[in-house]
Every structure is written in C-alpha cells, then in structure tokens.
Symmetry: C2
Subunit: 252 residues, 2 copies
C-alpha cells in the first residue's frame, strides 16, 4: 500500500497521566483544572498531545516532568535514582470521548513518593493531589465540603484503571517502593500498602514477609525515628522486581 493519507482517518494522539502518590495515609492522584472548554473549570488528568517526533514513553515522561518536575525512572537503567516509576497503562479511543475531534489517548501510570505541593504552569490553584475515592465518586462533596464534579472526559475510568493496576501490581512486584523516598523503613512501606489497598496489615507478619524476601529490601545501615517510637532500620529498594511468593491482599 503506497502512502496515501486519504486511506485512513486522521487521529489526534495524546498521553494522559495517572500520577499516584500516598499522602496522609491516602492514595492520591494528580488532578489539574481545565482552563478551556470543553469541561472548562472541571478537574482532569494532566496530559497533552504527542509530538510528531516523539515516542509515547517520551511524551509521557515529558508531560510528567512538566507537571511535577519528576524525572521518569527509565526501567532499562537499574540504577536507583530518585525518578518516578512510569509505565503505559491503556489506550482509550471511543469516538465520542472528546467532543471536538477524534482523540486517542494513551494513558500512562506514574508512581511517585510524596511530593511538595504540585504545580501546573506555576499556578498551584490549578493542580492538586486528590484522594482517589474522591475522584471516583460520581458526585457529592469532598472532604473539605467542596462539591465534587466528575472528572472531565473519560478520566474517571482512566483513574479507576490506573488505581486497579497499582493495587494489583504491588501484590507481586516491588513496585510499592516507588511510593517511598530513597530510604524508608518497613513501617513506611507497610503504610504504603495499607493506603493503596485500604486495609490494615499486621506489622509483625508484614515485617517478616518483606525482610524475608531476598532482594526486596537492602538495609542501608542507618536508622530513623521520624515516625516516632523505637528507631527503625532504613532500607532501600533491592534489585528484585518480582515478588515470589506474592504479597497477599487480604480479602473483604
């Protein structure tokens, strides 16, 4: 088939980001307020058009840096830097998902440690970390009493898919460490699991499990009391990416 642009319909391709973090014991996603129609004034996921010479992962990393200042952690480089985990999530292409034109959005999932206040072009009021339960409830009032409008476009579905991916993936991988600072304690890691899954875990069994899994955690030698109580050993993420046997999510 020769190059014939009339042979296929043109699409706009965007990347949208589900950036998750754990703040105050709650799983939160980054939301930005839309400045233009459609859905003007409503909250949405950060994202933007893929440029003509850009790979999808590059576009996602660029948007992530623009919105949060985070560098994406290239998974092909095993060196543990401070970058966020970034992976492709899914692609959304309903013909009516954007009323203006035909847009296919390649959603990406980013996991980041707790960050300073978000920025969106320097305007803090137009970006916030929102608890995912608040974003996913169709209507009602948020914790601060502000009425909650549904997310723009199909972004509620995308957030839901991203949260589900994160919830299942920390079961059988060491990805939960992506929510932690470079050095962290077993208790901090446990609170990540508790926030993402929304359950309480037994501290003793959790400690036995994570310290007993080879390659999951590497002690750095230091200790900290930043959580109060007895000083806790500090660890960094080990090289293992797959947990076998997996961490079991409690039922019900």
């Amino acid at each position: 088939m020769p190059y014939d642009p009339s042979a296929f319909p043109p699409f706009a391709v965007t990347v949208d980001l589900v950036v998750l973090t754990v703040r105050r014991h709650a799983l939160c996603a980054l939301a930005v307020r839309r400045g233009e129609p459609p859905f003007q004034g409503r909250w949405a996921l950060p994202g933007g058009f893929v440029r003509a010479d850009e790979d999808l992962a590059q576009a996602a990393a660029r948007e992530l840096a623009e919105e949060t200042g985070l560098r994406a952690h290239d998974p092909s480089v095993p060196a543990q830097d401070n970058g966020a985990h970034l992976e492709q999530l899914a692609t959304y292409g309903d013909p009516k998902r954007d009323p203006r034109m035909r847009v296919v959005s390649v959603a990406h999932l980013a996991l980041a440690p707790d960050l300073p206040a978000p920025r969106a072009g320097g305007d803090a009021s137009n970006a916030r970390w929102a608890p995912v339960e608040e974003l996913l409830q169709q209507t009602g009032y948020g914790r601060d009493g502000e009425p909650v409008a549904p997310l723009a476009f199909d972004h509620a579905q995308i957030v839901s898919d991203g949260v589900e991916r994160a919830r299942s993936k920390i079961e059988y991988s060491s990805l939960a460490t992506a929510f932690c600072p470079p050095q962290f304690t077993v208790g901090e890691l446990r609170r990540v699991y508790e926030a993402v899954w929304g359950v309480a875990l037994d501290p003793r069994n959790f400690h036995r499990k994570v310290t007993g899994t080879p390659g999951f955690l590497v002690p750095t030698g230091g200790t900290t009391t930043r959580q109060g109580g007895r000083p806790a050993q500090l660890f960094r993420a080990g090289g293992a990416t797959l947990l076998n046997p997996p961490m079991l999510r409690p039922e019900v």
Copy 2:
C-alpha cells in the same frame, strides 16, 4: 483550546492482533504474509486501520472476525458463548516503527481454541499458525526447514508482550479456559498450561488444584475418551475469573 487541527500532528491509528491458540502442544500465533511494501512477503500480525466511527475494541473485534471468523466474547456478557477472549494489550508508537508515516498501533490479545485452518481473505497460503518460539527467534530455520525471517515492523516485540501477558494471566485467572473448546477435560486444560508455559505439570496436583478451586470448573456430567485412556469428566468454565490462590508457575 478551540478546535485547531494544525495544533497537533495527525496520526494513523491501527489495531494489530496477537491471536494465540494451542496446537499440537505448542503455543501458536496467527501470522499473515504481507502483500505490499514495506516488508513485502514477510510475516506480520493481522491488523488494520481504525475507522473514523469505530471504538478500538470494535476495530479489534472486526479485524478478528475478518481474519479468523471468530466472534469476540464480550466480557460484559457473562454468557459462555463460543467467542474468543479479546483484550487490549499495549500501544506502540515509535515514530519510526512504520517507514511510511506516523502510525500508532493499539495491539490486542486474543485467545482462541484450536481452530480449523486459518484464512486471510480466503487465501490459506497467506495466513498460518506459527509456534511463537519460531516467530520470536530473530533468524534461523523453522521446524519445516523453511528459513525464518523476523516479523515485519515491531511485531516481534508485540508478540513477545502478548505471550508474556498470556503466560502471566493464566496464573491468576481462569483465562486458560479460553484456549479450550466449550467442554473440556482436566487433562486438556493441563495441556494448555503446559503448552503456554512450556513446562510439564504433575497431573495429580493439577487435578487437585483446579477441581478444588470453587467456581473454576463446572462438571457437565458427560465424559469423553477423546484423549485415550480412562474416560475423563467433561467440564465447562465456571463463573470465577480470578484464581485465589493462583496457579503457580514452576520456576526454572
């Protein structure tokens, strides 16, 4: 931002299909021979452009029907029909993946029972079930002595990702039944696992595991001797989609 087509670069969007089945104890993928440049004469995955009014899943289901005659099993309809399992796999958008133009391909994964001979527009010589190891080796000779050329475009990567998805997903879901006919025996299901994972499983432990997992298998009452030996009970897939605890893939 008003609708300004010059504000974003136009993309072509395609769907490509990784259609897997188990034939003669080997995991096979459907490959079609390309009739036009680029990569003319080389094997590739079936696929095509997404139409202007089509959802991505619709486009994938349409391509699947065109290439194999299979109807996609809509996961929102729990009725067990004879359709194939179809799910989105990942999206590939390297700027240079198609030398003609900027193409973003939304790959889908389909799992089907063993089928009669494939067809590609009625021409059997242009479609075949190829063992995935054969497709994935970069060069060399296939089982029939025919020299093996790498798949067109980035399709080897897509097949690799699809196979890995299938291998991991049958661990913790009942998806392996998608490779089986509507009624099947425990031994047939075990041979699916063995072919997909490329390992031998203990028949006794496998039998205990699958029959002991509630909702996985439902006995139909019938028996069959089509595999030889003692008659085996026939089952159909139960309603359970998640296996807990999962089926463990042997190491090494």
